[in-house]
Structure formats: C-alpha cells, structure tokens
C-alpha cells in the first residue's frame, strides 16, 4: 500500500477516535438546560468527524487517485540522505525545549546554535562561536529589552 493510503488509514483512526469522543462521550456531563439547545458543544465536531471519515475513505478506497509526481525526496531511499543529521537536529530541538527554562536563554540558545552548526559539518570554531554568541545576545536584547517580553537569561543557580 502506498504511503498516502497508510497516512489516510492513520487519519481515519484519528477521525474515528475524534468521532467516538464527539458522539458518545462528550455530552455526558452536559447540563440539562443545555440539552434543550439546538446546538451542543459536540455538534460541530460531529459534523467534522463524519466528513473526515468520508474524505479519508475516498483516499483509502482509491476512489480519487492522484497523478504520480516526482517526489522532492523519495521516502523509500531515506537512508541515502543525511538522515542522521536531521534526526540529531530534531533531538537538539527537543533538548532546547527542555533546557530553555532551567538553563536560561543565553546558554541554551548559544549551545543550540553551536551544536546545530557542528551537526551540519561546520568546523570553523573561530566564526561559529562568535556568531552564535553575538546572535544570542542580540535576540535576547531585542526580545527582553526592546519588546519587553521576559526571558530568563541565565540558569537559576547563578541568579538568572
């Protein structure tokens, strides 16, 4: 089965779960006076779930076939591309999300930019480090001082 039909199958599962919640579980706690209304919180989701199931079935049953196109990246040959770098960058983003608050903006961001460049093959430390650090300070100054959006600059244990 082609990837687009596998995706349609997953989306059908999402629509079924969504529909189950909308049709069977959502209105359980509805106040009695609300039950007299022509519209319930579940009304719109119910319509969406039916349409969603119908649309996914069109793909899944092959009723509408898309014309084959030359893919930018062939997912069947993913291992031939720089998959390791992409996965490492995703891991770095997750690490950044987890470290932003505890380690502070300046440290986390500088580390993210340096490690990101390093992952992609940059080895010119004398350019990489100053660029990352100055950009980090620049963005922090703009966001915190000019725009007035608070961002903890340093880790808590050194007074950030």
């Amino acid at each position: 089965m082609a990837l687009d039909r596998w995706v349609a199958l997953v989306l059908l599962g999402i629509c079924l779960a969504y529909g189950y919640a909308a049709w069977f579980t959502m209105d359980g706690n509805l106040a009695p006076f609300m039950r007299r209304n022509p519209i319930w919180p579940s009304t719109f989701p119910k319509v969406l779930s039916v349409l969603g199931i119908f649309a996914t079935l069109i793909i899944l049953l092959g009723i509408e076939k898309a014309a084959p196109k030359d893919a930018e990246i062939d997912y069947r040959r993913l291992h031939e591309y720089h998959l390791g770098q992409a996965l490492l960058l995703l891991a770095l983003m997750v690490a950044y999300a987890l470290c932003l608050r505890p380690l502070g903006f300046l440290f986390s961001t500088s580390a993210f930019l340096i490690l990101g460049s390093l992952t992609l093959g940059e080895r010119k430390w004398h350019i990489m480090v100053p660029v990352a650090v100055s950009a980090t300070f620049g963005v922090w100054y703009l966001v915190q001082e000019v725009l007035g959006i608070y961002m903890r600059p340093l880790p808590g244990f050194i007074g950030g």
Binding site: D4, A55, Y96, A97, V143
Partner: protein
C-alpha cells in the same frame, strides 16, 4: 470630502506624524520579518508607546504604519525562508518561495513590494470613496452568511490543491478544523478534546502550527538533501521586473485590489481569506499553461495574495472607522487603543474627529509610499540572508522557528508540540498531502464554528441554509468548487484514455 482630505493631508504631513509613519513602517517591517511576531502581537506591544503620546491621530498613524510594515515584513520571511509569521502571507510563500529557490529572490521581493504598494494604495482610495456606503453592505451579512463565506473560502482552498488532490486537500482542511476544536470554544467555555492536559485548555497555538507546517519540514528537507538555496552563484540578480512581467501582473493587481478590499470590509474575513481567495481566483481564471505554473514560482501567484492582503488590511478599517466594529483581530486591538485614547470610532467619528478619520486615510497612502521607497533599495541587502552558508542558516531557521512558537505562547510545551507537529508535517509532505489547507482550516475553525452555532441558535436548527438565500447561494458555490475540479479531472482522464484507445 475635499475639505476632509485637506484636513487629513495637513495632519498627516505634520513633522511628528511623518515620523510616526516612517518609524511605524520600519519597526513593523523589521519585527514582521521575524517569524512568530505577527501584526497583532507587534501592535499590542506598541500600544503603550502610542498611548503615551496622547495624540489619537499620531497614535493611530503609528499603529497603522506598524500594521502595514508587519504585513510587508511577513511577506519577506515567507518568500526568503518559507516561514510565514503572519497568516495573511502564507499564500505568498506558495510562489514566492519557489521563486527564491530558483534564484529570483530579488524579483519576488520587488513584485511583493509593488503589489503591496498598489494593493494598499488602491485600497486606501476605495476606503476614501466607499467607506460610508460599504459599511451598510457589511451590515447585511449575518452569522449564516459568514459561515457560508468561510465554507466557500475553505472549498476554494481544497479546490486549488490541483487535479487529483481535492480529497487530500479536503482531509487536510478537515484536520485543521478538527484541531481548531481542541480547547475551550468561545461559545461554550467547555474544554473539549484536551485529554485532561492543562496546556491544551487554550488550544493549539497558531504560530506553533504555522512554523511546524512550513518552516520545520522545509528545514528538514534542506538537511536531508542539501541544495543551493539560491541558485548558481549565490548573488541576488534579476532585481528588476520586465515590461512583459509588469503587463502580466497589472490586471491581477487591479482585480485583487478590488476583491481584497471588499473581503477586508467584511468583519471576520480579513487579510488571510483575501489572500487565499485572491490566489484561488487568479489560478482558476488563468489560462491552462499558466495554471500549471502556480505553486512553482508564478509571478501572478505571488502578486495576487500580496495585493489582496494589503487591500484587505485597508478594507478592514472600514467597519472599524465607520461602525466601530473591528473586522479582524488586529483592528480589534486598534479599537482598544482608540478607546484608551478617548476616541470612540463609529458613524460620528467623521463628524466629531474629522482630522483623525482623514489623517488615518492619508497616512495609509504615505505609509505605502514609505514602504516602497524604503524597502525597494534595501531588497538586495534583505535577500542576502540567503547567501549565508547552510551550516549557519539552518540552525538559525530552526532557532527562529522555536523562538516564534515560544514568544507567541511563552510556554516551553509549545516547543515540544512544534517538534511533534513538524515530524507529522514532514511525513504528510512525504505522502504528498498539501499542508496549507490544514493551517487555513485551523485559522478559520473557531470563527466558523461560532458563526455556525449562532446561526443554529437563531434559526433553531439548520433552517438558516434555505431561509437565507445568500447563504444558500454561497453554499452552492462551495459545493461547485469541490465537485467541479473532480469532474474536470475525471473528464480529462476519460479523454486521455479515449485517445490512448484510439477513439
């Protein structure tokens, strides 16, 4: 009207107000370029500065300048980085980004600047002439018509996904609508589909989703299969547009200035709907060979949403200035600023404070001119961002993507959601599912449900569909938009098979 124009011109051309326009446009352009900071957040940030000036005309001129600048800056990041920070510039990335990839970044930015200027200026002219009359037309639209209008907008988006793609675009649109129902709805104040997670009470963040759908998969594709972002030599060339190109986009600009303006006048239907409808209409009326170019770097495909979104921004001032009803989130913030300055917008604004009404209109002309004069010479420098080596550019794109999501919600959970959605979006891209319909469905979902619910309550059921002829007509148009492309595709396929069989 002539007297009003002179009053407006005198006020807008004062030294202080000229500074406000120039400063507002520059601040707006700069901040609007950063993905994640749209006009709403920029204007909200600028409100304390504007109010502290104490002069309502100067304050509104500054905020209007910021608004235009932000839309222009949003287009720049859409074209250069495929990272639209503003919903209204998502459609600009469809053809603007492919143009940048083909080494025509300078040309794309020039077309964007000229189209924005023309759209904004023609919009201001229309505002000046039609403001009072148009406000009464907007009053004819009730929640049922708004709901139907949104269905038309979403159907148009599904339709322009192309031959054989309508079902996929429909699924993506519905997925966007489904995602919009997560969290507390405006009408019920009941948490829905949150699975007990507190961070989902307010729903998914638009910026997070926008970044995940556009910037993240693009950056990951760049990592997976490195390519030269800019073409051959890394230099921005071809900055000028040729006479033939100008001739090709002129009618698009004319049509979309009008259409965008009128869509902008309708409360709720702002720059986003205008830009997508503009794109869809131009694609549908283009000759077959030009239709195939849309999405691959068509100049018409870039000029249409760029003109329409600026014209719609101007149009959205009509209900604000003449009725006191904000037509969009941004004008709602402007309304708050005006009230804080003891000015009540409405039908009496023209009578009680003519200098404010006319000065704002005149400052729109000046603001558009300032954007064109300041930004056109700066285009080669702005576009230089693409000559940064990918080892630096990609981490910075990822960083701005993360920052956009973080600043928008001030919540680290958003960053994890961003990565999760980004991975899903990449998988969808692999399977050739269009991502833009999902985002538009998500943006319109809340408004669509509100209008649907109000109509259901008013008519005690779905009677509003056949009891309001305009609603019925709009819904028929929406159905045709879905059915016709499929019918055309089937007919084309049958014809091709017939030819193959020697019929």
């Amino acid at each position: 009207m002539l007297e009003g124009l002179l009053i407006g011109l005198q006020t807008a051309l004062s030294f202080q107000n000229l500074l406000m326009v120039i400063g507002g446009c520059l601040i707006g352009t700069f901040i609007g370029m950063l993905p994640g900071l749209g006009p709403m957040s920029i204007i909200a940030i600028m409100i304390p500065v504007a109010i502290s000036m104490g002069d309502p005309a100067a304050a509104l001129i500054l905020l209007a300048g910021v608004y235009y600048g932000a839309i222009f800056g949003g287009s720049t990041s859409s074209i250069l980085l495929n990272a639209p920070g503003v919903a209204g510039t998502v459609a600009s990335s469809f053809d603007g980004y492919p143009m940048a990839q083909q080494g025509k970044a300078g040309k794309a930015l020039t077309i964007a600047a000229i189209s924005s200027f023309a759209g904004g200026s023609i919009g201001a002219l229309l505002l000046m002439v039609f403001a009072p009359a148009l406000s009464s037309v907007a009053l004819l639209f009730h929640s049922a018509e708004y709901f139907a209008l949104m269905v038309v907008g979403l159907s148009a988006i599904a339709a322009f996904a192309g031959t054989g793609q309508v079902a996929k675009a429909m699924i993506m649109t519905l997925l966007g609508l489904i995602m919009a129902t997560v969290g507390e709805g405006a009408l019920f104040n009941l948490p829905r589909f949150t699975m007990g997670i507190m961070d989902l009470q307010s729903g998914f963040g638009f910026i997070t989703l926008a970044m995940a759908m556009f910037a993240l998969p693009e950056a990951l594709f760049l990592v997976l299969k490195p390519k030269n972002l800019q073409g051959d030599d890394g230099e921005i060339t071809d900055l000028r547009i040729t006479g033939a190109e100008a001739k090709a986009i002129a009618p698009v600009i004319g049509r979309q200035s009008l259409q965008g303006f009128f869509i902008g006048v309708l409360p709720g239907a702002g720059a986003t709907i205008a830009s997508f409808l503009g794109y869809a209409v131009e694609r549908n009326i283009a000759p077959k060979h030009e239709q195939d170019e849309f999405g691959k770097g068509s100049i018409k495909g870039l000029a249409a949403p760029e003109t329409a979104n600026n014209a719609a921004c101007t149009g959205s001032f009509v209900p604000l200035l003449t009725l006191g009803i904000p037509g969009s989130g941004t004008t709602a913030i402007l309304l708050g600023a005006l009230i804080a300055l003891n000015v009540t917008p409405g039908p009496r604004l023209m009578i009680d404070n003519p200098q404010i009404f006319w000065a704002v209109i005149m400052s729109m002309f000046i603001g558009n001119l300032v954007l064109l004069i300041l930004n056109l010479p700066l285009i080669p420098y702005i576009a230089k961002v693409l000559s940064v080596p990918r080892t630096y550019l990609i981490p910075f794109i990822l960083f701005f993507t993360l920052m956009g999501a973080y600043i928008g919600q001030n919540n680290a959970t958003e960053l994890l959601l961003l990565v999760g959605f980004g991975i899903c979006a990449t998988a969808l891209k692999f399977a050739d599912y269009p991502l833009a319909p999902l985002l538009i469905g998500f943006i319109l979902g809340g408004m669509m449900e509100d209008n649907f619910s109000r109509s259901m309550q008013l008519y005690d059921g779905i009677g509003f569909i056949w009891e309001r002829p305009m609603t019925l007509a709009l819904l028929v148009v929406a159905a045709l938009l879905i059915v016709l492309p499929s019918y055309r595709a089937r007919r084309a396929k049958a014809r091709a098979e017939g030819v193959a069989e020697g019929d």
